[in-house]
Structure formats: C-alpha cells, structure tokens
Symmetry: D3
Subunit: 238 residues, 6 copies
C-alpha cells in the first residue's frame, strides 16, 4: 500500500557516518532513505547573554537546505535575505529538542551549535536533523570529556525523532516525501532512547483526527525511536 | 497551589466581545484572564498563486504584540525590520489551525486573513488568538452567507485552543504567565467543538514527560475546549 | 456642509480612558470620534548615547497601526520588513512634540517611550497620538513623582494636537477621514494648553493657500487645543 | 550677531548652475552659501499604479547626502541597508512641495523624478533641494515642450523654499549650520514666486514660540523666497 | 618548503565524483585536497528578462559555504540576512567564467543555474567551484542532448580554474589554506582545456609584483588547468 | 576606428581638481573624459577590530553612483535597501588596491576611508575611483604629516588604474562606455607609478583571449598608468 512497498511500521534504511568533516568538533552524515543531512557540532566558550554567569551550558541549532536538495530548485535563503518561516520553525524545534536531553549543569558554561544542512531531501528532514544532530553533539561532548573539560556526561540518553502520519487512512511510520505530501495527519515525535517524551507535534492537513489515531501514531513512534537509538549508539561507539 | 488560586482543571474567566472595530468584516476582543487579543477578519477576493483557479478558499493569519503588552517593553518588530521566530511560528500555527476547520470548497475562491494583535499578555496568547480568531472568521463568513456569496456554511464546528502543562509536578489547565514561565512541560491543544483533534504540540522545557502525563493533559484540554466552544457559540449568536 | 454635519469649528466627541493596560507605567485609550489610539508610556533607566551622563531625560515615541484599523487592510509593517515613510514621519513628530513640552532637567536621566498604536482609524491619528501620548506620559511621570524619583514636575503644561484644513473651500476644525481625503490644505497644530506653539505643519495637496487662510486655521486650532487640554487635565486627575 | 556676520534678514549668496550633467533631462548645481546640492530631473513614461490611466502626471523626489558632505563622515545609507528617518522625511517633503506647483493635467501621464544629492552641507539642504529641484524640473519640462510632448506649460510659478528660525532670541533668515544647531525654533517655508503658500513647517527644539514670532518668521520667509524666485528665473532663462 | 611538502608546481590530489544527488540534472562532488565542493546544475525553461525572446541561453551560479566548512564556524548568511561581499564576488566570477565557455546559441533559450556549496574548505574554493561547476553543467547539457532538446554541443572545451601565488617568495601552484593566508600575491586563472584565457585575476596582499612574476604564475596555471581538464573529461565520460 | 576617434593607445583627457569639499581631510574631482568621480578621504582614529592594537593602519573604500550619473536612471541603492553585487565588487577592489600601496606601519593605527561617488559615468568608473582615490588619500596623509602625526611618508609611489580591452578585434587603452559595452575582453590594471603590479583583472565577455593578447593589454596599461601617475603627482603638488 505504501509507495515504497514498506510495511506500515517499517522505517526506511538508516545509516549514520561520523567524522565527515575535519574542522567540526563533532560531525555526521545521516541517511534516512534518500534524506541525507550533514550535522556538525561547534563548541564555543561563550553563552547567550541571558545565562551568562549561570554556570549552565547552552545548545542551539541552525538548519538549512542546499538549493537543489529538492525536486525543483528552491531559492537560496541567503540570496533572498531571510530565512523562511519553515526554516525558523524547524531550527527552533531542533535546538529545543536537543537541549531537553542535555544536563546543562554537567555541560558547563559553554555553547554547542548544531548545524543541520540538508544535502538531499525526501521527507523527514527535521527528524533526521534531530537524530543526526544528537550524534554530532555527543561526539563533541566526548571530545570535551576526553580533554577533561567536562567531567560528568551531560548526555546519558540519546534523543531521536521520527515522523508518523495517517496515509491513505492508515497509520504509518517514517513518512517519505510521496507520503508526506499526501498525508492527512502528520506528526513528529521526539523522545529519548528510554521513550521519555520531549516533544510531540501532530497536525491535521485539511482534516481532523481522533484520540485513538493519536495513540496509534504514538505506538509507531515508540517503535521507530527504539530502532534509531540503537543506530545512534552504534555510531558514537564506532 | 496555583499562583492564581485556581483549581487544577479550572480555566481563567473567558469573554468574547464582538464587533469591536467598524472596518473589519468580522472582529472580536477575546479576554482569557488578563490576556487580551484583538482579532479581525478581512475578506479579499484574491487567493495565493498556488490555488488560483482551483475554486478553493484560503484562510491565513498574522500575529503581533503591542510593544507594551508585556511586563517589560518588547522592541517593535516593524522597527527591528523583521518578525521574530516566535511570531512566525505562532502565526503559522493560527493559520494552519483555522484552515483545518474550514470547508474550503464551500468557502469558494477567496481569502480571509485573520489578524491577531495582543493588547495585553498574560500567557496563552496563541491559544486565545485561535479561539478568538475563529469567532472573527465565523462573523466574516456569516456576512458572506447573508449576502448570498457563500451558500453552504464552511464553518460547522468551532475551532478552539487551550494550553495545558505540568506545573509544580501537577497537570494544570490554561497556564497563565507565572505558570507558563515555570512549567516543565507545556502543550497547546487545538480541537473542534466536537473534540476532533486538529493540532497537538507538547514540549518539555529542560525535562521530559511520560505518555501517562500526556494523556492527563489531553483530558484537561478536552474539558477546556468544551467550555471555550460554548463561549464561542454564544458570542457569534449574540 | 461637513459630511458629519458638524459646525466648521466643532470637534468630534473626545474621550480619554486611562489605566487601560496593567503592564505600562502610564496608559490611555483616546477616542476622537471613530479614531481610537492606545497610548502607553514605558520608563527605562537608560538614555540614548548622545545624552549619556548629561543628567537630562529623553522622551521618544513609536507609532503603528493595526492592519485592519483602516477601511481596507494595510500590510503589516513587521511582515514587510520596514516601517513606511509615513510611519517614520509621524513617530518623529510625536516624539519631538512631546519632548518640547518636558523639562528635561526635572525629568532626570531616564527615557520614557510613548507607544501609540492605532486600533481604529478615521483621520487625525497623529494628533490623537500626541494628545493621548501626553496623558500616558503624565501618568508615568506622576508615578515617578509619587515614588520620589522625580521631585519637581517636568510636565506643567499639557501638549495637545489638532488638525485643521480647507475643506470645500472652508476652514474646518478636526478633519475626519472623509474630509481629510478631500481637503486641499491640511495642517497639524501642536500647542501647549496655554497656546504656546510647539510645531505647526501646513501642507497643500494639489493647491496653494494664502497667509489669510493660514491665520484662519490657526484660530480654529487654538480653539481645539483649548478644549483638548481640558479633557487631558480631567483624564489625568480622574 | 550672526556667526557669519550677516544681517538678520540677509540670505547667503545663492547661485544656480544648470546643465551640470550630460545624461539628465534637466540638472543644476545649487549653492546656498556652503550648501551645495546637485539636482537632476529624469522623465519616464510610466506613472505610479494609483494614477495609471488618469491622464495626470506625477512628480516625485529622492534625497541623499554624500558620506563626507558633512563635518564628520556619515555612514552611507546604501551600506546600512536603509534610508534614515530624516532622509525619508525630507524626500517626501521635496516631492510634495514640487508636486503642489505643477499643473498635473498639463504635464500629462508621465513621471518626473527629482534626485537631490548633497555634495556639501552647511545647513538648509532640504530648502536648497526644493529650490534647485524646481529648476531641474523646469528644464526637463522645457525639453518636453520644445519636443511638442507637452503643449501648455505646467510650471507657471516657481517653487522655492527657505528656512527661518529664532537664533539667540532673534528671528533670522536662511539658517546656516552653526545657527541651525543652536536655534530654538526652526521653520521651513515653501512658497510659489507669487508668495502663495505650499508648505509651512515650524518646530520648536526644546522650547516653544508665540504666534507673533511665527508671523515674524513668515515675513522673513516671504523676503527670502522673493529673492530665490528671481535667481531661479534667471537660471532657467540662461 | 611548502607546508604540505608538495613541489612548487604540484597540485593537490583532485577527484570528481558525479551523480551525487538524485534531484539535480547534473551534479558532482569535487575534492581538491581537503577542499570539497558540491556542484549541482538545474535546468529551467525561463531566462532573465534582458535576453527574453533572443533565443540565447543563460548560465548563472550561486555559491555558499556550510557554516562549519571552515576552521572556526562562520555565521550562516541566511541568518545574517544577506550574502557577504566575498560570496557575491565569487558567485559572479563562477557564473561569468562558465558562461564564457558556453555557445549560448547552441544552448537555446533556457537557463542553467550552477549551485556550488562548500562542504569543507581548505583554500581554493572558488577555483574548485568553477572546475566542478563545469562538470555539473556538462552533465546537465548531456541530458538535454540525449533528450534531443539541444542538438549541437554548446560545451566543446572544458572550463577549469586554478589558483597560483607567490608563497615565501616562490611561485607555487594550487594554494591550500595555510599558503593562501600567507601569500603575498594570489591569482585565479580560469582557462579552457585548450589554454584559452577566460579570466585572470591577480592581486597583491600588502605587497606588489612584477610582470616577470606574473608570467611565472601564468606558466604554472597552464600546467594546472591541463591536468584539471583531463580529470574533468574522465569524470563526464565515466 | 574608435567611436571617439582616439588612437588605440590614447587615453581620454584626464584632469584632477583637488580641495573640492571643505569638510574632508582630502578630496578631489577626477575627470577621465566624461567620467567624473568625486573622491574624499576621511581620517578616523579607530581601526577594524582584527588589527586593533597592532600599530598598523587601515585604508578602506566605499563606492556609489548618483542615480542619474548614467544614461537611464538607476535605482538608488539606499532606497533598494542594499548595495548591488557590482558596487560591492568595486569598492572591495578600490580598498584592496589603495591598501597595497600604503606602508601601513608608517601610517600608524588609524583608518582612512576613501569615498568614491560617481557624478557622471561614461565607462571606467572603478579605475577613475582608484586613481582619484589615491590623490584624496595622499592629501589626507599630507595633512597628518604636516601636523606631525605621521613622520615617515606611507605613500611613496602613486597607485593608478586604467582599463584596456579588445574592441572590434583590436587592443585599446582606456575604454569609454560605448567601447566597454561592446568589448569582447575587458581588463583593469592597477599599478604603482613605477609599474609594479598591484592587481590585474582580465575577463572575457562571451569569448576567450590568448596570452599574446594579454601581453598587448599589459603594454597599453603600462603606458596609461605612466601618464596617470604624472597627473596625480601634479595634482597633489598643486
């Protein structure tokens, strides 16, 4: 029934390659099917003004798409002179989600910026960004711990994200672009590896949904995040 | 336990005054406690390019805050030269939510723009904007129906929104500003009067939450929306 | 002869309601006929760089219109990414006019920002903003005096503004929108309650005027400001 | 008493050199003392959308200052990414003033843009821009008349502008920069050569003024405009 | 003598991988040492207004760097709200250079946009962009030829670019970042495979150079472009 | 053969008038045929952050065109809200070129900004800006030396620029606008008075060129710069 022939609860093949750029303190290229996102982590000693002197750390994110990561070319946001609403919404979500999984006292007063740049898009770029972004973050933090700059691990439980939706009347896991553009309901679920919830966003596009359907999507999401967390752990230990 | 002395499942007093500006096709001033939002609806014959000629209608929204609607003065976005990320996120949510409750075929090829301007803020401005915005929208559509420009009612079920969150470890309904700024988990629930879900957003701020807690918040939200829908119906029939 | 049936030298009904928002140090809603402007005063300890350390105070103003305050919807300036020329011209006028009526030594080194937001427009918004802005300013200063932060009153004489113009060949007081859009000559007169001049702007739209006509408009303006100053005094003493 | 040693009612030396750039349809370099402004007129067949098809012409203006036209270097507005409030206020005034002196029916459906670029500033740049701008405009219109594109002269009476103010307690004509920066009251008077009024702006800087003083300034302004109109006529006939 | 141990006339290892993204009409990832640039070509039926109806084709380019492509993180241009001067200079150079090597009559009235996004930077990104950009362009054009949309090949001779400079007093080929940041003279040489010149830019940084040195750099550049052209041909035939 | 009737190696008449504005520390109006550029130098005590405390000086440049300096009116960059790519490219070139001719140790830790504003354009504005800019710079430095603020002359050799190109198949010196818009190859050559090279830029427009042609253009450029340097020296000694 799914365009890709996948089962309703089957994710696309996921791979995470780490150390893909020599300059960043942490980096990976995550591939969720044909969605490819490059994630890098940059450590900086400064924090935003509102937490200066608090001893707390900060994690923030920026998101972008290469102009031809999509089927037809998108205008370059730098050339348009501003980031679109969708970009801003997504990068706020990535930052918030990753921050929720960090012990900011343990991190100490420093900022880590996660850049998520979509190289190729086929649906689910925000979820891939969060999942890959956590890996880049973890690698950067490991470097701080090896150097003795951070003592207690501020990242004990992975943060991963997956989309689920109602496609052709059925709840399905991990929407690809053909499904996403047709889905009546579309949700993003961000959880820890131990299935604690961080952020849940469900949205009807020209329809409505019931609480039962919401619970079915939650079930699928838990399955997906469980699989992603294993892949994340394998990647950071590789 | 709540700063305001309210019960856990008690909303703030809500009022909706309609017809508050002489120029708009529909308007209301919604007060949810000390949060006051002016909502106006503007009917225009043109639609966005991507649906031109489709026969479908469009509903969109813009959101703003008066500079001194808040405790300390915020910089005016027009003077800063751009809308902030929070503003963009909120107005996209309002537009999406109201659109989900509209029969766009019945509306016909025209656009209705809902402007939500916060006169005084005390938490929950986006929810008040959606709830009041629906009333302004309904009044504008009624005008179209009275004029015979729209035959079948495109708005049969109200759309309302309420926030719930975990405050001091307890699930509470309708967060005000003192609660919102302290809440560990914060959610916005947009539903129809008949409790169909349109959008659900739950977000942990520096913590995580369980699926049980999520369900408790859903229960509270259903209660809140039920009350709001009654007030909306009374307002449009006044 | 006037569309509203008013006498040539008759102002629209004017009311000033104070204390309309709980956050601002001073606030009022001024109604001049169907023109409604919300004015708030914000006290801040900092002053602009060019008077830092001088001991002098500063008063500045910002002006905005709600998108649907007008007959047809105006584009939101925050969304357009800049304030229009008319907005900038008006807010500079408001700031300059109010500043001229302040004893800046008595105010002391602090800044008061007056926000004037037009809720509903029917001509004369800049004059209503100045007249209402002075009331908000006065209320904020009274708070400073009650707290002992300001000893000697820096606002001894009200500042009020009124428009006059040549409509259908006749000098008229307090132009409303139907008159304003037809007037050949249009002027704004800002004076103190004791009829000292602060700013006079007269402008011909596609015509010219004589010095005699100018004097007739001045006479009308003096009458109008006298009435406004009484209403201002009543409002601040309420 | 004046820093320059001029009499109270004495203008600075004024010269207008025409034909200073080979590309523009009309051009002049006006010098009012050490204030030098280059004015060019550009004729274009298109008019703004709001008068399209009306048969009426349009005159508009833009104003700029070279970065080092002033004592200390000003930041280039193009580099800052926007025109400042003062620039916008001034160019609106220039356009409005020149437009008031044009028979827009006789001009026919075309637009003339007057660019006023300050080469060297010493006070009174907006007045010099209007006075010189009228000359550039007249020269461009003469070209249209010679070509038979315009039959009846749309510019029968010059438009000129002069500033007057209260300096050291005395009313003075044609403020230069040292006077302007000290003046308690400062006004710009735009009139036709036959002393019809087009725009009057008087503004108190940290003080107030009486109606008597206003009349004294008007008297001075009439004298100044009379002198300027003679120089304009000589320039266009040269 | 060179930090990398290369001979004076030795290029870094160069590889070009084609078909790296599924959406673009042509694409490659070019690696010149540690400088990695992703190049994509997008074919669109429209051309810029100034050649509309001429029958001629157009080639243009855009350039960007991922924020962490560099040693320390650069601010994202989309977030800053504009492209920097260096970016604009580079993308104009890429577009101009590629255009010079195209038979625009043979291409026909269509536009091809080359996007060059730097994944990792180590000096020479603009040269790598041109060399890789030509490959992406060639692949897109081949697709048009296979489809019969273009009959005669508009790209008969490759366009490639290489930098040369005076480093530590010696002329060297293909500057990497450590050399580039120290070089007294730095040049970019864009040529066809048959050594016809398209663009030459030589620039002294805090020094000057002689015509003899210029000729030595030209000799090196010819050697470098010869090698690059072979790699380009191999890549497009792979 | 040339539209102007000049010989292939003949420059347009060049004049440099100094001291053209009373405010700038150095200024000139350079005329190269009908290309007229006003150049001013501003001395400021501050330097850019990246050299603060180094004891080194800085020279930078900004470039602009009056809207009607060209055949048809260009939009004002300040009104468009940004400098175009061409402007940015040119002002970076001017700054880089002038900086290369300065002994920054001798200049001392101060910044000199060269503003080049095109009053009338007829081709070669960037070259005229560099040649005239050097004169303004030299005059400002002379003032510093006279005041004893700079001891050893940081500007011992003039910097001048000239364009050459292939027009109608022939190498020609100093392209004017009619030639520039037709030339197949176009170059800018920036050298010192003693013919040391500072920057060379050659660019083919829809064609290619040979190394022989490049050498012919270099020969012409050397002749042109020699003549310009004499005129510069005369101007600064006048």
């Amino acid at each position: 029934m799914r365009p890709s022939g996948r089962d309703l609860s089957e994710m696309r093949p996921v791979s995470i390659e780490t150390g893909v750029t020599k300059h960043a303190e942490g980096s990976c290229l995550i591939k969720v099917g044909d969605t490819h996102v490059m994630c890098t982590a940059t450590i900086e000693p400064r924090v935003p003004p509102f937490i200066k002197g608090s001893g707390l750390g900060w994690v923030t994110a920026e998101y972008g798409m290469l102009p031809r990561s999509t089927t037809s070319r998108m205008r370059r946001e730098a050339a348009m002179g501003k980031q679109g609403g969708r970009t801003i919404e997504i990068q706020r979500l990535i930052g918030r989600s990753l921050r929720a999984g960090v012990d900011r006292v343990a991190l100490g007063e420093r900022q880590i910026t996660i850049d998520c740049d979509v190289i190729q898009a086929d649906g689910g770029t925000r979820c891939a960004s969060i999942t890959g972004g956590w890996v880049a973050l973890k690698l950067a933090v490991s470097k701080l711990m090896k150097a003795g700059d951070v003592i207690s691990d501020p990242l004990t439980d992975p943060v991963a994200a997956v989309s689920c939706g109602i496609y052709a009347g059925q709840p399905v896991l991990d929407l690809d672009y053909p499904e996403d553009s047709e889905a009546g309901v579309d949700g993003n679920f961000i959880m820890t590896g131990s299935k604690k919830l961080i952020e849940v966003q469900m949205s009807a596009e020209g329809s409505v949904f019931s609480r039962d359907q919401m619970n079915q999507l939650m079930d699928l999401a838990e399955k997906g995040v469980e699989e992603l967390a294993e892949i994340q752990k394998a990647a950071v230990n590789a």
